[in-house]
């Protein structure tokens, strides 16, 4: 199990876009189970009008995908560290395919991501995963490609 302090040593993301709270299981090179608690105090809920319906509080899909992707990032980078394969560069979301949403999360829910590492090819990692709230699967993604890019390519000229 990895706690939040451990996660911050693995991922470069910081508050409030660090979207993983805790890692429950980690099988290097294979699979991770990680959680993120959704709370009404998050910036995405700022400014919602009092008359907004319950549906307005559905956790944004963009943040849900970010959270799932970060769980995958932890799996990949932790695996690389364990195998003493030096990792350099910035973690980038390269692409994703076949992501379907089948439910919602609301403040008070805990997202539980299960991500599988399918293939690592140099600076590229292929993953697939699911997100659960309790016994309900709310998202499935067929393929996520995460990429490490050297920082110099990201700095504006």
């Amino acid at each position: 199990m990895l706690e939040h302090a451990d996660i911050k040593r693995i991922l470069p993301h910081r508050h409030p876009i660090l979207q993983v709270d805790r890692v429950l299981e980690l099988d290097p090179g294979n699979r991770i189970v990680a959680t993120k608690a959704v709370t009404g105090a998050e910036p995405c809920y700022v400014g919602l009008p009092a008359e907004a319906p319950a549906s307005a509080y559905a956790y944004p899909v963009s943040l849900l995908v970010e959270s799932l992707g970060q769980a995958g990032g932890i799996l990949w980078l932790h695996t690389a560290a364990q195998r003493a394969e030096p990792v350099t560069g910035t973690l980038i979301f390269g692409s994703a395919r076949d992501l379907t949403l089948t439910g919602h999360a609301y403040p008070g829910d805990v997202l539980r991501h299960v991500v599988h590492l399918e293939l690592v090819k140099g600076d590229n990692a292929f993953m697939r995963g699911e997100t659960w709230v309790g016994d309900t699967r709310i998202a499935t993604v067929g393929e996520i490609l995460a990429v490490l890019r050297q920082d110099t390519t990201l700095v504006p000229a």
Partner: protein
């Protein structure tokens, strides 16, 4: 977050600054990338990149707005699927994101949104295809 926001659903930020063009089924949404937008302080502390998922948010908010305007009061559009998304160039503070979104009705309750996003320098930053589920909500709920 701007006090003037009219957004009535949870979102990490107001991801569309303006709609510049609208033809039949095609909208062009523009977002200026600025470092002090919500969430960007943590992405990353040393230098800012507009997160890939926020590009998804830009396209979604632009399409949602168009669908809700078209459908009238109580119309809601939510993401049912991200068929594919790929990022090909980073967006940094000072960049202008221009998302050209093509909307196609798959059936009365499903709209496909195909978008190509470009930066000010013309380079494609992302291409994505979303599917939105459209439904009517009790306007006074």
């Amino acid at each position: 977050m701007a006090a003037s926001t009219v957004r009535a659903f949870a979102a990490p930020l107001d991801a569309v600054d303006r709609i510049e063009d609208r033809a039949a089924g095609v909208i062009e949404a523009v977002k200026d990338i600025v470092a002090d937008d919500p969430y960007l302080g943590g992405h990353y502390p040393d230098f800012t990149i507009y997160p890939g998922v926020f590009t998804i948010e830009t396209v979604y908010q632009a399409a949602r707005r168009a669908i809700e305007e078209r459908g009238g009061p109580g119309t809601r559009a939510e993401i049912a699927a991200i068929a594919s998304v790929r990022f090909s160039a980073p967006l940094l503070p000072g960049d202008v994101l221009r998302a050209t979104c093509e909307l196609t009705d798959l059936d009365p309750s499903r709209v496909r949104v195909k978008a190509r996003c470009r930066r000010g320098d013309g380079r494609t930053s992302a291409q994505l295809t979303l599917e939105l589920l459209v439904h009517k909500e009790n306007a006074d709920a």
